[in-house]
Structure formats: structure tokens, C-alpha cells
């Protein structure tokens, strides 16, 4: 099938897809500007098309993840027919290796993969950012100790380290979240520390210290608001990395365990279909790629805003 499509047809499809994406993004931005109150509307106006496309995709994913049971035609673990049924009919995207509906699994996969990735990133950020800011503000031996521990953790290749830890502690969702959060929090720590280092030398921090303010006030009220922009941008990027790590681990069989629907393991389980020229196993991979690109579009825009660059 695919081999018979000439190159120019593919080009036309791509152009049409790109045009549709741009049109959707434009419509979305216009809708937000029109419907939202002052602050949000003003923010949306400064948003380039790429960012508005990214925001739209993220919103769709969130919507799908939240309302999965109502959108999906079948149950997550329900065996509905024969193995590897083709697209069409009752099964929009066919069935998988155990005869479960592919479309349903894809929708539940959004909930599981995205939800777990979000929880993991949040945890990595809480730990990494708090310790990083603390290291910068307190300095001295606390900084030295934390930084060296982070150096040691970062010296070990991330995926191998994750595999090792998961083999030791056993594969469960909680363990996976903790392990990935630990590994990613080291990167967050480094960023938070270096951002805060530039802030703690400011006179207003000295003024607050001389006022006798406690550590909590310094970190939360004086430093965090000024470090927020780069940290939020990093949150987006980190989310992508975590998301990819989870999918990679699931693909290797150490991540989210069956029968829970997950995009990484869905690629692996249906990989045989690729041999027959069927693109179905690439759909979950495409879903991962699309979300990653969307998040990066939004993050790029935020970084741009945070750095105060002008075109």
C-alpha cells in the first residue's frame, strides 16, 4: 500500500496536515483571546502560532486523559474480538495482540502514561527545586554535600541506573515513579541551584537577610518568584524526558505492567505488525512524539518570554 504512494502525494498530504495544524492553532488562539478575561487574553495575544498549536494539543491530551472512560468505546482491559483485526468497522483502529480495541487502549494510554509522567515530574521538581534553592541560600557544607551527591548520581548513565534500581526494588508503578523522580531531580537540582545562585547575590536578598528573615521566607517569597520562569520552562522539558523514560522502560518491560494500557508497551506488543506493512504500532509512538513536540513548542515560547528576548 504505502510503497505505491508517489512522493508528491506524500508532500501534498504533509502540506495539508501542516495547513490544518496552523489553521487549528490560529482558530484556538483567536478563541482564547475572545473568550478569556484580561490577563489570559493578553498572554494569548503574545503567543506565536507554534505555541498556540502546542497548547491546543496539550489541552486535547488532558481532556482525553480526564474523560477516558466516557470517550473510549470499550473497557481498558476488555478483549473484544480476534487478534490483529484490521482498521474499520466496530474497531476504529483494529485490535491488538490479545484482541483488545486499539483505539480504546490508546485513549487509556494517555491517562496512564501522561498521568504517571506528570506525577513523576512533579515529584522530581519538588525534591530537586527545594534542595537546589536550599543549597544556594544556605551554602557552606550543606551545598557541598548535596552537590556532591548529585554529581555522583549524575555520573551513572540514567537508563542503566533506572534499570538497575528497578531490578533491585522490583517493578511497580510506585517504584518506577520514585526511581525516575530521583534521577531527574538531580538535573532539576543543578538548574535550581544555578538560577538561585544568581539571585542570592542581589541586594534585596541581603536586605531581607539583614532584616532577620527566616529561610522559608527567603526561599518562598524572595527567590522563588524570580526563579519561577526558568523553572517552569524546565518543567516542560523535564516532563518530556520523564515521559520518554517511562515509555522506554515500558518498552523494555520494566515500566508500566500489563494489562494497564501504556503507549510504550503498546509499541512493543504490536511490533510484529510492522513486518506486514501495518502502521498501527506506530500510532502510540506518534502520540508520544506529538505530545513531546507540543510541550516543547510551549516551553520554547516560555523560555523566550523569560529571557526577555525580542525578535
Amino acid at each position: 500500500m504505502a510503497s505505491s504512494t508517489p512522493v508528491w502525494m506524500i508532500l501534498i498530504y504533509c502540506t495539508i496536515a501542516f495547513g490544518c495544524a496552523a489553521a487549528c492553532a490560529f482558530a484556538f488562539r483567536t478563541a482564547v483571546i475572545a473568550s478569556m478575561p484580561g490577563q489570559v487574553s493578553k498572554l494569548a495575544r503574545s503567543m506565536p502560532l507554534s505555541a498556540s498549536f502546542g497548547a491546543l494539543i496539550i489541552l486535547i491530551y488532558v481532556f482525553v486523559a480526564l474523560f477516558a472512560p466516557w470517550i473510549a468505546p470499550f473497557g481498558e482491559r476488555e478483549v473484544v474480538g480476534a487478534q490483529y483485526l484490521p482498521w474499520g468497522g466496530d474497531y476504529l483502529l483494529g485490535t491488538d495482540d490479545l484482541g483488545r480495541d486499539m483505539f480504546t487502549r490508546l485513549i487509556y494510554g494517555a491517562r496512564n502514561t501522561v498521568g504517571i509522567a506528570f506525577a513523576t515530574t512533579l515529584l522530581a521538581f519538588l525534591g530537586g527545586a527545594i534542595l537546589g534553592l536550599l543549597a544556594a541560600v544556605v551554602g557552606g557544607w550543606i551545598d557541598e554535600l548535596l552537590s556532591r551527591i548529585v554529581d555522583i548520581l549524575m555520573a551513572i548513565p540514567a537508563l542503566i541506573f533506572a534499570l538497575l534500581l528497578l531490578t533491585i526494588f522490583g517493578t511497580s508503578i510506585v517504584n518506577m515513579i520514585l526511581v525516575i523522580a530521583l534521577i531527574d531531580s538531580t538535573r532539576v537540582f543543578r538548574l535550581a541551584r544555578s538560577v538561585a545562585m544568581n539571585i542570592v547575590v542581589m541586594d534585596y536578598i541581603e536586605a531581607a537577610r539583614l532584616r532577620g528573615e527566616g529561610l522559608g521566607y527567603l526561599v518562598v517569597r524572595e527567590i522563588l518568584p524570580n526563579a519561577a520562569a526558568p523553572l517552569i520552562a524546565e518543567f516542560g522539558l523535564r516532563f518530556c524526558f520523564v515521559f520518554l523514560s517511562i515509555s522506554a522502560l515500558s518498552f523494555l518491560g520494566l515500566g508500566i505492567q500489563p494489562p494497564t494500557a501504556d503507549w510504550g508497551s503498546m509499541v512493543r506488543n504490536n511490533a510484529t505488525l510492522i513486518t506486514f506493512g501495518d502502521v498501527t504500532p506506530l500510532l502510540p509512538a506518534g502520540a508520544i512524539a506529538l505530545l513531546t513536540v507540543a510541550v516543547n513548542f510551549v516551553v520554547d515560547w516560555m523560555l523566550h518570554r523569560a529571557s526577555g528576548l525580542k525578535e
Binding site: M202, D203, Y204, E206, A207, R209, L210, R211, G212, E213, R221, E222, P225, N226, K310
Partner: protein, 549 residues
Amino acid sequence: MTKTSNTPLLTIKDLYIEGRADETWSGIVNGVSLTLNRGEVLGLIGESGAGKSTLGLAAMGYTRDGCRISSGSVTFDGTDLVGAPGKTKRHLLGSRIAYVAQSAAASFNPAHRLIDQFTEAPVQHGTSSRDVAAKDAVDLYQRMRLPDPETIGFRYPHQVSGGQLQRAMTAMAMACRPDLIIFDEPTTALDVTTQIEVLAAIRNIVDQFQTAAIYITHDLAVVAQMADRIKVLLRGDEVEEAETAAMLASPQEDYTKSLWAVRSHARTEQPAADRAEMPVLSVQNVTAAYGPIKVLHDVSFDIHKRRTVAVVGESGSGKSTTARVITGLLPPLEGQVLFNGSALPPNYKTRSGDQLRKVQMIYQMADTALNPKQTVGQIVGRPVQFYLGLRGQALRDRVAELLNMIELEPGDFLERLPSELSGGQKQRVGIARALAAEPQMIICDEVTSALDQIVAEGILKLLDRLQGELDLAYMFITHDLATVKAIADEVVVMQSGKVIEQGQKSAMFTPPHDPYTELLLSSVPEMDPDWLTDLLKRRADDANAYSKT
């Protein structure tokens, strides 16, 4: 190109320059015209935001990013620079028009030696070979009175002092013997004593080569020394232009008069404090060090209630370090700081809230002293809440009262962020934050040195008034003797970490002085156009007399 002496070298006609902010274009320079003849020096003065630098750059046919020349013409020796193609401008810039920036340290490439950067322009423009240019560099270094002119070019920018770097940069601008040099605040970042040397060298070399120059500054006394004519700018408009002597003697416009009058503020000196009375703050035999390097040696002075003690000295003299010892940021090696007769713990971390509250600080750079993410209300309210425990309506009332004290309308300013304030307003908020703690003493660290003269004047008057109302004691750190004259009761002169001289202001400003105090005092530029000439002559005479004996 024939050089005729009767056509002006540079003509700017009805120039409009716009800058882009928040998606709209607004005027930075609004229809300014000027003519500059060969060998003439024009001084451009005005507050920050007056468009001086923008106009200076436009004289080279250049605008900063985000700016554009919307109409008008810039004609340099018959060539219109506004519409000129890049090639024409590249040919002129560096060889016939040169630029000397405010911060020489930021303008030199730290990775190359001075002489290599010097020879770059002549070689690039093909006016001379590398060797010839290098010889010329030595000659110019000598004319700029740099020490060791033969070898100084082989140093890297970080190996020479700020004043020397500024002179090396002027020499570099001279490399192609340009017809026009634009000086953009070349001495603003320098100490008074260094400034003299740079001013003298610049004037000397401009005279020798008959180079025309545009000299941009906000310091009137400096422009009086350098310029043949002065043009005053205000928010992108020309206020007036006249010959230097005429401008100094009888300015026509009200704005110019107000610029001239700024230096007249002087507080009547309080009588010397009763020695028996307990000083608010007493620094006793303090010696302090950063690591192994001692920066303060046996420093002692007292500050009494309702008195202002000015601590004066060049950068590196230990003024700010003294403040750090007083606030407890740098515990001293020896000596102690007494507050109302009782010793303050050396480290601020072990001081009580009350001890911290009574000594407050106002910073030099209001930009970094206010948290950019907090509103004026939060910044001023925090000490009130923290020290005095006020909440709700009582807190809001107190903050409004404080803002009224510093002459900012509470309704208008409470919700603003620091980025929505001007430099002077930021400094006022810094003052309000210090006052909010209801202190007995305030340390003012160069509070006016980043501000224009008119704005600085307002701040000094405000501080003066507040002192009377609230019985405050001030420790006023500054390198500017004009500020000392305006605000101090007593003066402490510091040099390399030691107190050289201290006493009442009137005593300090009347001879005889300590030699270093004399040097500082005589280096402050005055509004007399002949001041620099006279001073240099006097110093040369002294040196001659000294060498004869």
C-alpha cells in the same frame, strides 16, 4: 574629497529617531538639528533618557536594535549617512568617525592584547601596515600619558586599570586619525582623581590633532572643561545651545537654569555633637579582612543623633567594607561596633530583631535592591509587618503614610512593580523600606551615584528633611565631594582601609588639608571652563617646585 574649512563636518537636520516598545513606536529623539565644524568639540548634556547616546550613535548613521531613524538627515562631510549603503558606512566608521564608549572594560575584547586591538582598524581600512600602526600606537600611548608606552600595549585589558583602559581606548579611536570622535560618557565610571587624568589626556589629544568631537555626559562641570559649545537635551528635544562660556554665564531656559542650580543645595552644618553625649553608633578600632587580605586597619569613628557622617574615598578605600562590618555581614577581626553604648554582636545572624531593626541600609543600585517580583506595597509593607507586627488596615495605613513621607502618591504607586518606576522613584522606595523599620540610623551606600543630578538633588533633600523629622543618624558613603558638601555634618576620609582624616565638614573644606584630602578636593570638577587648565598648571608647578628642592 576636498577638505574645505568653511563647510561643516557634520550636519544633522531635523532628526527623528523612534524606539519600539510594547509593539508601538515612540519618539526618542524629536527633531534635533546640529552642526559641527572641523576641530570643534560639542558637549551634549541632559538627564538619562534625554536621547544623548541615541543622538551620538546617530551621528555615525547607526541606531541600536529596536530603534529606527524615521526622518531627517545626517550628513558627514558631504555623505548622507541615513540612506547610505552598508559599504559606505563601513568605509567611514573606524577610519573617519570613531566612538569611545562609557565602559572601556566592556568594550575591549578580553582575549586580545591592547596593541593587537589597536592595529586592527588601520590594517582593516588599509591606511597602514601592522608594524607602522604598532609604532603609531606607542606614540599615541605616550601622548595619552600612559605609563610605559613602549610595553603597555602588550598587556591584556584586565592587566591595566580602568582609567588607563579608557585612555587606551581613546588612543585606539585615534588610530586612523579620524575627523570626528564621539565620546559617550567616557569618565562617568571613574573616580574623581582618575577622571582628571583621562579628561586632561582626551583634551590634549583632541587639541593636537584638531579632531572634532561630540562629548556626551550628564556632568556639567566636565562638559564645561571639554566643549566649545554645549547643547542641552530634554526627553529627546533640544532645549538650547550656546557657546560654553555664554551657556555657563547666562542660561536662557528654565530647564537649563535648574540643571545649573542643582549644585547649590547645601545643608547648614549642625554644630559639633557634644562629646559627652552617647553616640548612636561608635566604630572602635575595627580591623577586618576578606580571607587573608586585610582591607580595614584600625578604623574608628562616631555617629551622633541627627548628624550625617560622610565617609569619603576612592573605590577600594574600604568605605563599603566598613558598612558591611557595621551591618554584621563581615565580622571584624579586631575591634567592635557599639550601638547606643552597647556592643553589637559581630555577626548579623546572632543579632536580635531589635538590633537589626535600628540600623537600616539604603543601597547604591536601586535596581538590584528591590525584588522585581514584589509590588511597592509588599516591599514597604514587609518590614512593618515583620518588625512591628501590624496587620490588615493598620498595615495599609502605615504603608500609605510611609509612601506619603517619600512623596509618592499611595493610590498610584502601591500596586506598581519596580520595573514600572523611574530610577529616582526606586531609590525613594528603598528609602521607604528603610524607614518602615523605624530605625535610629541609616547607612546610605552611594545612594545618589547612579542617579542624574536633578533626581539626586531630590533624594538628598528628602533624606535631609526626614532626618529632621525622625531624628535619624546617617552614615553616608560616597566618592562624590559635591554630595558631601550638600549633606554632611562630619566627614571621614578613607584611603586603603585607613582613616586619613576626620572632622567637621567646615574644617575639612578649609585648608590646611592632609595631602590625600587635598587631592580629592582639588579633583572635583568645577563649573569654570578654565578649571582643568588652571589645575593642571598648578599641579605641574607644584611638581616642579618639589623636584627643585
